[in-house]
Amino acid sequence: MASIPLSHILFVSTALFFIGMYGLFTRRNMITMLMSIELILNSVNINFVAFNKYLYPEKLDGIFFTIFIITIAAAEAAVAIAIIINLYRSHKSIDVEDATELKW
């Protein structure tokens, strides 16, 4: 357990963050962009738990931040998918390039 230094876990979370970033840059479909955002949020969660475990094992603050981030991510995904489906109803497309006006 102690054989893995903290920076290796941070390597995984940083790499996952930038993989999500790459998806956000290259994808033009809203659902796949939402998936990239989920990857980014998960990389942040790994960071919180790893810091809590390695640097402040007597506290639980990282755990609580992770729980709240998971909750907010779930709410965000639900609202985003409602918006995407509504947009699909009016535009017949969920490509971000096609959604050019804020009000329909």
Binding site: L6, L16, T26, N45, A50, Y54, Y56, L60, T71, I81
Partner: protein, 200 residues
């Protein structure tokens, strides 16, 4: 190299491989499945770090909730067998360069900073999580707990409002179907046809 280190590197490779495939594959349904694998890998990482509660929450909320929601929305809006259009190579090239630069920059900073890990053992009793979550004292989290419950309520109502048809929309639809055939002076004239959406 001991077994726990090998397990860690295997989990890390699994997470990153599934993540890369999730953002690069051109079939949207496969992308969702790779995302699912990546999230399961992250849950395994939490198990490896001995925070079983977070691992369980991860599986329940992400794998059981969000990915299922995403797959539902794919089926509702996409032709899931079809490949997505190709991204042009300039966009791929410059996004790769930007992300590689960002990764190198941040990992360089992380590597320079020497973290001194605490020697204390880390264990998370679920009882302690529950007690601290609802305690109003100094290290209690009852205020964020209440705020998050309000947020969930707001998200729920927001989803219903977004999905609901507005009264004008409903009235318009009803009038279209009723006054579709309008009779004026004995001759039948069709005023409006319901629009037929062509499936291409």
């Amino acid at each position: 190299m001991e077994a726990s280190a090998i397990i860690f590197y295997a989990i890390a490779a699994f997470i990153l491989g599934a993540g890369v495939l999730a953002v690069t594959t051109r079939k949207i349904f496969r992308s969702a499945i790779w995302l699912l694998f990546s999230l399961v890998g992250i849950a395994a990482m939490y198990f490896w770090m001995q925070v079983e509660f977070i691992a369980a929450v991860q599986i329940i909320v992400y794998v059981g909730g969000i990915v299922v929601l995403i797959i539902f929305s794919i089926f509702l809006t996409q032709n899931s067998g079809k490949e997505m259009p190709k991204t042009n190579w300039r966009k791929i090239l410059f996004s790769t360069l930007a992300t590689l630069f960002g990764f190198g920059f941040s990992y360089n900073l992380i590597n320079e900073y020497s973290f001194t890990p605490s020697t204390q053992a880390f264990n998370v009793p679920i009882k302690e999580i529950g007690r601290q979550m609802l305690s109003p004292t100094d290290h209690g989290y009852v205020l964020p707990f209440e705020v998050v419950s309000m947020l969930l309520l707001a998200a729920m109502i927001g989803c219903i409002v977004i999905a609901m048809k507005s009264p004008e929309q409903k009235a318009a639809e009803a009038s279209v179907t009723e006054t579709e055939v309008h009779t004026t002076g004995g001759t039948v004239t069709i005023i409006s046809k319901p629009e037929i959406v062509e499936e291409v």
